[in-house]
Amino acid sequence: MRLTSEEVDHIALLSRLDLSPAERERAATELSQILDHFEQLKQLDTADVPPTEHVLPVVNVLRADESRPGLPREGVLQNAPEHAGGMFQVPRVVEAE
């Protein structure tokens, strides 16, 4: 099953990857091979196999509802490329009207 170039572009957009034409071509080939492999797996009868929700045989890992103060704000913001008024500053995300 060969992925179309539109499908590859869509996946690249969702993953925020900026692919060159050569990379796009390679991704199409490799992703198609992965999908083919899953097509092959689909031939197995899994009717009696419970879905794997987690690889560990562990459930109910919980913590008591107790709070403790957050990190000092200077530390929180120290690696931010830009900040203002105690907040992280990013390029505007909602388009202007």
Partner: protein, 490 residues
């Protein structure tokens, strides 16, 4: 009537009443200086590990039990992937395949327009646990049209999303749904439901279809609704907009609209994030939940009597009117106040429940509402109200004086008894003393006496009023009636 049937569904996000966040110990606070309630987990740092808050599971369970949903006792968390700056991990931990609750319902009271209402059952699609995102402010509002500012205090606050079926058929039903849901969440003490702080958020989806058509029309989601009024107004505006489109032969486009309070219109949300392809998959950092029956029973035992059951009990067992029961169960605080005041109080004529109800509904809530306060802040405690009513029963004070005393109690929080003693407000029930006053009033009002004897029953009232004036309202009214009649027929 419009040509189209209105179809409304609701998505509700409720922030849960916990001390800490869903997956880390940062404080769950609605108001705090920006980016002070944050840590590596809720900032989405690589290598940090989320651990689920036990209380938040309990609160969520309480809610799905109240909705009578099917509970997935084994449930898992999944990652909902999308890029947005207020989502630091680039995914939101949520539930999709195995949400905590599936199905269930909320009964709502839909007003008939004549003071009565009809019960309608609104079905639920699912109820799932997730985490809140950070908060962003954009552009001009922050003095920089090219930037957005992000505060992550809200990131990771425990959130319960309640998704209804498209079962509502009018704006009134949508309002009744919001009221019933809010009341239930408050009773359950699951959320403080403060809409102005975003603790409870509604999103509506609305479509129109010609009457009789089975398929739903194209659905438009409306967001940015921070009050019940905003929901109501935005739905009305959206109904008008879609009606105009359909009337002119157009096609409604499936999209998300934002309510603009200032212009009173819905506007298409213009966002760079168009690609809603969430690619859910099981969250590998969180193991499944496996809720056994002991856990469920413990939560069930922690549940209060729910508003509908309470309402019915007040009507059937206490003999209250449905109006009174509605007022008294409108919030858990009011209902608990009422029940505390009623506790241990009986009346020989069986009117105890009604008597306390009158005082709570009229006198207490009247004053509380006039002050824009809440019953929880009232200075008069339930036992003090009961004592006041008992003083009337015992004939120590008249009902009229009781209201004056209550004014003082409401302002100062003092006991009725001490106010009565201090102000000498004890009801006069001394026959000899009252007889003398009746004689005096009769002597001073020859005209009224003559009229009464001539058959004008009304004049009797003037004489009673005279006695009350003489005694500053303290005379026992029943006794005054009796003594005056006796004196006048002599």
């Amino acid at each position: 009537m419009s040509k189209y049937e209105i179809v409304i569904g609701m998505e509700v996000h409720a922030e849960l009443l916990t001390q800490s966040k869903q997956f880390c110990a940062c404080p769950n606070e609605a108001v705090a200086p920006p980016n002070t309630n944050v840590c590596p987990v809720c900032l989405g740092f690589p290598g940090s590990l989320p651990v689920l808050n036990a209380k938040s599971v309990d609160l969520s369970l309480r809610t799905v039990l109240a909705f009578d949903s099917k509970i997935n006792t084994r449930c898992i968390f999944e990652r909902k992937n999308y890029f947005y700056p207020d989502l630091p991990k680039a995914y939101q931990v949520s539930q999709r395949l195995l949400p905590l609750g599936e199905g269930g319902f909320i009964d709502i009271d839909v007003p008939n327009g004549d003071g009565t209402s009809t019960v309608k059952r609104v079905g639920l699609h699912d109820v799932h646990m997730e985490e809140d995102t950070g908060k962003s402010q954009h552009g001009e509002s922050i003095g920089d049209p090219d930037s957005s500012l992000i505060d992550f205090n809200r990131s990771g606050i425990p959130l319960l999303e309640i998704v209804s079926l498209p079962d509502m058929r009018s704006v009134e039903e949508a309002e009744a749904y919001m009221t019933a849901l809010r009341q239930l969440l408050l009773y359950l003490e699951v959320s403080d439901c403060k809409m102005e702080l975003g603790r409870l958020r509604f999103e509506a989806s609305l479509s129109l279809r010609p009457w009789g058509q089975e398929e739903y029309g194209t659905r438009v989601e409306v967001k940015n609704l921070n009050s019940m009024k905003a929901v109501r107004d935005s739905l009305r505006a959206e109904i008008e907009r879609q009606t105009r489109i359909l009337d002119s032969g157009g096609v409604v486009v499936q999209q998300t609209m934002l309510w603009d309070e200032a212009s009173g219109t819905t506007q298409p949300m213009r966002s760079k994030e168009q690609a809603h392809d969430y690619r859910y998959f099981p969250e590998p950092d969180l193991v499944p939940l496996d809720i056994d029956s002991a856990w469920l029973e413990r939560v069930r035992a922690s549940m209060p009597e729910l508003p509908r059951a309470k309402n019915q009990r007040f009507i059937e067992q206490l003999g209250l009117s449905s109006y009174e029961a509605g007022v008294l169960t409108s919030s858990r605080e009011i209902a608990e106040y009422y029940e505390a005041a009623l506790e241990g109080y009986t009346k020989s004529d069986g009117g105890a429940a009604k008597a306390i109800s009158n005082w709570v509904c009229n006198e207490l809530l009247g004053r509380v509402n006039a002050q824009n306060s809440s019953i929880a802040e009232a200075k008069v405690l339930p036992a003090q109200l009961r004592e006041l009513v008992q003083l009337i029963d015992a004939g120590t004070i008249s009902g009229k004086i009781a209201k004056e005393i209550f004014d003082e109690m409401f302002t100062s929080g003092r006991d009725a008894k001490s106010i009565v003693e201090e102000r000498g407000l004890t009801q006069m029930s001394d026959t000899t003393e009252l007889e003398a006053i009746c004689e005096k009033v009769i002597a001073a009002n020859p005209k009224a006496v003559e009229d009464y004897r001539g058959g004008k029953e009304k004049s009797f009232g003037a004489l009673v009023g005279g006695v009350m004036k003489e005694t500053k309202g303290r005379a026992n009214p029943a006794l005054v009636n009796e003594l005056l009649k006796k004196a006048l027929t002599q």
